[in-house]
Symmetry: C2
């Protein structure tokens, strides 16, 4: 479909100003040289990345309902969490599955990995599927507040069509489950 030389599309950062150095994000205001030599401004958010999990047990898919202050909305999302410094994505996945829904996977299979919004951010999300899961009790961090919501597999397609899932990782996960379970 195309050759693999993309150098005619490349931008080069020529100067950089660190605007914010937070716990979750770092923000740079950068100036780039475009392929034709013009310059342009870029606003860039650096993020350490996250994991998210498909968790199906006893014919039900596990979600969490939580409040998100950035969109000011209560969303129905798959379990997920930020990758901490020094953690491998697979370790974060094991931890978040246990904390958010009390799940312990026999194995974790990687399904996809993706940038959530490459136009301004490098946040990269690893999506795993928990296989052969056993359930224990939720073990949330003391600043986490969320409800576990279980959805029967046969209801997923209708909920997808109704717009019940309104964040990107959850839409990717639900579509994957519908396809792989032939729902």
């Amino acid at each position: 479909m195309e050759n693999n030389d993309y150098s005619h599309l490349k931008e080069e950062i020529i100067s950089n100003k660190r605007i914010f150095d937070g716990h979750v994000i770092k923000v740079d205001h950068s100036r780039v040289k475009l392929p034709d030599g013009q310059t342009a401004d870029r606003e860039i958010v650096y993020h350490k990345g996250a994991v998210s999990l498909i968790a199906v047990h006893d014919g039900e898919m596990y979600f969490v309902r939580q409040y998100r202050v950035a969109p000011d909305d209560f969303l129905l999302e798959i379990p997920a969490g930020k990758i901490e410094v020094g953690e491998a994505p697979h370790e974060t996945a094991v931890k978040e599955l246990r904390e958010e829904i009390g799940g312990i996977a026999g194995t974790l299979e990687e399904i996809q990995e993706f940038y959530v919004s490459p136009g301004f951010s490098n946040e990269y999300v690893y999506l795993y599927e928990a296989k052969d899961m056993t359930m224990e009790t939720q073990a949330l961090d003391d600043d986490e507040f969320l409800d576990i919501v279980k959805v029967r597999l046969e209801d997923l397609k209708k909920l997808l069509q109704e717009g019940a899932f309104r964040d990107s990782k959850t839409l990717i996960a639900v579509q994957h489950v519908i396809a792989s379970y032939n729902l």
Copy 2:
């Protein structure tokens, strides 16, 4: 599956510091009161939102290959663009379809809308499908550099499984096309 009273999950912003007021994003460092009365810091990126487009013509799905400076990567994405002030999402979609791939849709059907990364950002993306499309020439902005890449529908599933699509909106779109065309 759950009742609709989520007030036990709500956080309230109690103070707010505007860190950055850019063209594309605004960044706040906020302090919130958690449901149990504790406080916590939140780093929030406000964004005006974007549209993205499923465009299929003559048995091929249209993508654009472009360099993204935030992840420092050349990605294969569906056509997309930021919503400008005063634009309705549908207007942005018509404009971006024409600019990026030269497409003119008979009708635009909305497929999904979603937050890309609600943990820190309110960016909201509208995904449309262009129906009954005719093709003219690409009409890029003078600071846009991207290649049109057409993929035959029967190759989509294999490319998806190989990890060829590495951003969230594109994965949602490709999964939708595979399901709706029974590929």
